[in-house]
Every structure is written in structure tokens, then in C-alpha cells.
Symmetry: C2
Subunit: 221 residues, 2 copies
């Protein structure tokens, strides 16, 4: 590998990690804001999203420059294209964290609903998936990537259970509807963050093995 390409790939890895750290922090803060009714943390997620958006644009431009300058092939080409996709997925994670934070802000300013929802477990899983998928990207670690894909099923299950509980709550008492709809949304947005961590992990497997695992769920069931 030419030395300049090698250096540029190293720098790109650092840059995507730093964007990943921002997306991970936004996700963690949004989850904490939701669970602990912390309006201040929710606000910090809202005000931090601009930075994530700017970093995404910068990294995309960087990737295009590298493709044009080094004209990489095989594994290096797959790596840069994978980073382009991870980049776009991380920006979406940031947007979803904003959505969760907006729900958390509403909920923090209203009486809590007296209902048992497993946001703590869901939150731990989603936080771990985001952290793991970034590890998988940087260490090109297929085993970690496959673990993320498995975790996604657990998140889906918790999301479905929350839906049932919240629907029953709304049916029993109309005064809960607005808060329950915000909670439904928060749960769904967390589930979509988990989906994006799964996407990113599938990208890692593609990058390392050239194997396309998207749309082949039977491999992971």
C-alpha cells in the first residue's frame, strides 16, 4: 500500500471514530435524559447536533478526495465506501438521538406515567450496540459486528413489549395519550438507532469479507 494512502486511511479511521464518539455521546445523553427526566441532558443533545452534521459533511468530502487522489482498489476501496456509509448512518444516529431527546424534554416537563417500561435494559443494549459497532469498524472485527446484529433482536422485542403496554395504558385512561405517544416514539427511535448500529455492523462484515449480509437474515437467526 502506498505510504500516503496508508496515512490517509489511518486519519480517516480517526475521523470516523471521532464522529462515532459524538453520535454515541448523543445517544447516551438522550437515553439518560429519557430515563432520569433530565431536561438539561436533552437540551445538550439538541444543541450538539450541528457539530455532528458538520463532521459528516467534512468526512464525506475527505472520502471523495481519497477516492480521486489514490484511486484505491479491492480492500481499500471497499473500506472507503464502507466508511462513506458508516458516516451517513452515524449522522442519522445523531438525528434519532435528537428525536429521543425531544421526547425526553416533553416528558420531563409533564407528570410521569405510572407504568412499567424497560427503557433501562433497552437503553443499555442500544448504548452497547452503538459502542460495539464503532469498535467493529475500527478494529475491522467481524465477531463484534455479528454480536451487534444479534443484539438487535432483543431491542426489537423490548420495543414490541412497550407498544403493547402503552396501547393498554392509553385504552384504559385517555389522559395518558399524549405522554404515551411520546414514549412510543422514543422507543421506536431507539429501535431505529439499534437498526443503524446493525447496518454499520453489516458494513463491517462486507468491508472485511466482501460478504453482503444485508437481506440474508437466515445467517443470524
Amino acid at each position: 500500500m502506498p505510504i500516503h494512502l496508508h496515512q490517509d486511511l489511518d486519519r480517516l479511521a480517526k475521523e470516523i471514530l471521532s464522529l462515532g464518539a459524538l453520535a454515541e455521546e448523543a445517544t447516551n445523553h438522550a437515553i439518560e435524559a429519557l430515563i432520569h427526566r433530565r431536561a438539561d441532558l436533552a437540551e445538550s443533545v439538541l444543541s450538539g447536533d450541528d457539530r455532528i452534521d458538520r463532521r459528516e459533511v467534512e468526512i464525506e468530502i475527505e472520502c471523495l478526495k481519497m477516492l480521486a487522489l489514490h484511486q484505491p482498489v479491492a480492500a481499500d476501496l471497499r473500506y472507503i465506501v464502507a466508511i462513506l456509509k458508516v458516516n451517513s448512518d452515524l449522522e442519522r444516529v445523531g438525528d434519532l438521538a435528537v428525536n429521543v431527546a425531544e421526547r425526553a424534554l416533553y416528558l420531563a416537563n409533564h407528570d410521569p406515567l405510572d407504568v412499567e417500561l424497560d427503557f433501562p435494559t433497552m437503553g443499555e443494549l442500544v448504548k452497547r450496540m452503538v459502542r460495539d459497532c464503532l469498535d467493529a469498524v475500527v478494529r475491522r472485527d467481524v465477531e463484534v459486528a455479528r454480536r451487534v446484529i444479534q443484539d438487535d433482536d432483543k431491542v426489537d422485542e423490548i420495543n414490541r413489549a412497550m407498544f403493547d403496554i402503552l396501547e393498554a395504558t392509553m385504552q384504559a385512561d385517555g389522559s395518558t395519550v399524549k405522554r404515551a405517544v411520546h414514549l412510543l416514539s422514543a422507543s421506536r427511535h431507539l429501535e431505529r438507532i439499534a437498526d443503524l448500529a446493525t447496518n454499520i455492523s453489516e458494513g463491517v462484515i462486507f468491508m472485511v469479507d466482501g460478504e453482503v449480509v444485508r437481506h440474508q437474515p437466515e445467517l443470524y437467526e
Copy 2:
């Protein structure tokens, strides 16, 4: 431009258009299924999604081959990278059409809610946005792309209005909750299809002008 690259770019345009046509058809059928309570149309969206998924993978592999083989620069490089993103966005449009179709299927099998929702206008807008963003991609037409971005505001507004109406419906009558939650989801998924058409249109502007319009909302307000 070398003649082989020229031919390959033409073929790529045809391929992304054919994927776009599948995603557009899925969207249209899901909307019709929702509005006219057509379980048969909903089923056809569900069974058609595999084909969209397979086409996405094929086009991605095609793009990687073109990058490796032709090592394009400048406008051609931006075009291929833009197609990679459009490809991934169209696959997500297909997934969202499946989500809408699943809601439509549930609703078609239950009594209609007696509530005034403007799915026809929302549906027309979303269908037009998907069609227009594909036109914008193939004709590299920045004007059409900008129109799509403007339409997105109208869809957001209808989505918000539906939320208010459905929340009030659930508050007034607990027996409406399940159906109203399905309608909320359908509205939100349509709104996300509109977001993806907007993404694709922003990609066209980047491809043609090299201008990054994402995260610069002031340009379109």
C-alpha cells in the same frame, strides 16, 4: 470521458431507474392500500420487497466495480458516489413502503375509524416526491431536486396535523387506540419516505453542483 466508462455510467443510470421504479411502485401501492383499504395491494408490497433488496445489492457491487475499473475523478466520481447513496435510500424507501403496507393490512381488517385524515393529499405529495427525485437523478436536474425539497415541508405539516387529530381521537375513545396507533405509524412512515426523497434530491444537487445542501436549511426556507 473514455467510451467504456460512458457506457457503464449509462447502464448504471438505467439500473438505478429500474430500482427507483420498483420503490415508487411499492410506495404507490402502499398508499393506495392504506386509503382504499386494499389488503391485496398491501400483500403485493410485502412480497415485492425481496426484489428491491436484491437489486440494491447488485447495484452496489456494480458501483464498486466501476470505481475499481475506471478510477473516475471529479464529476464522474461524484456521480457514482451519489448513485451509491441513492441506491441505499431507495432500499430504505422500499422498507418504509413495507411498513406502511403492514399498517394498511391491519387497518383493512378492522372497522374504519370515523375521523377525517388527509392521507390522499399526503399520498399525492409523497408519490410526486418519489417520482420527481428519480427524474432529478436521471436528468441531473437541480430545479426538480429543489422542488422536492420544498414539498417536504408540506408533508411534515400534514403529518403534524394527523398527530393532533389522532391524539384527540384516542383521548376521546379508548377503543380507537390500536387503529389510531397504526394510522400514526403509517403517517410517520410516509413522512420518512418524503425525507428520503429529499435526501436523494440533495444528493442530486451535490452531484451536479458539488454543493452540499444538507444541513443548510436556510437555503430552502
